[in-house]
Amino acid sequence: MSRNSNVSLREAPPLPEKIEDWERHIKAERTLNDLVEDIHRILVNEDPKYRSYLRATYDAHAIEGSLAADNVLAAMIIREKAKEIGSNEVAEEKLAIINLALGVVLRRYNASRKQRRNTVGGQQVPSEGNGD
């Protein structure tokens, strides 16, 4: 015989019907990196020009003549998209900051220029310590 057989179970709170009623109890805010990642995922799908700005691994292959210039243009596209979809935090951010966040995002996917530059046959090799 179970100990609590006489105790009726408390009823669970009802599941909210509308999304507005769903209150998130974990208050951790999403970081700028996360917001930039959201926009990056949209742009990778829909904007071939954006993808081409991220493709080069050497200055000589860069669309705009240098990887730094391509980075800035990719950041400009991200900021424009942020304005379009109403992502205010990104829309009001400086290009250099968006560029840094984009670097973090790309590394999450092992897709940064440096990671791809040092990849041979699908395997990353250590760099030679010359800043490459």
């Binding site: 003549g65 240098s66 730094a68 800035v72 400086k94």
Partner: protein, 107 residues
């Protein structure tokens, strides 16, 4: 009698960028993009980003002008325009480095 050297022929790439730079000097955003001497003061968070943003404005202006003489700038890469802009600014003793070394009185 000394004569100043003036090259014969079409304007160089640097000259083309200089012409557009002079036109854009009226534009407040363009001027502010060239103003900062240190990354911390840059509009876009770094001097490199400000340089490329200014170069973007130069290229857009060149395309907008539909001027054959500016054709090179309209189709140039941003890195090239940015380097040419550096040359232009040094002509006026107004590059970031020159102003930084002169004491950066305007900052």
């Amino acid at each position: 009698m000394s004569k100043s050297f003036r090259p014969i022929g079409p304007p160089s790439f640097n000259d083309q960028v200089e012409s557009i730079h002079i036109l854009l000097w009226e534009n407040e955003r363009y001027r502010t993009l060239l103003k900062a001497l240190y990354n911390e003061l840059a509009i876009e968070g770094s001097l490199a980003a400000d340089d490329f943003a200014a170069a973007t404005m130069i290229r857009e202006k060149a395309l907008e002008m539909c001027d054959l003489e500016m054709r090179d700038v309209g189709t140039a890469k941003l890195a090239d325009i940015s380097k040419a802009l550096g040359v232009v600014l040094r002509r006026y003793w107004a590059s970031r480095k020159q102003r930084r070394r002169s004491g950066g009185a305007d900052q």
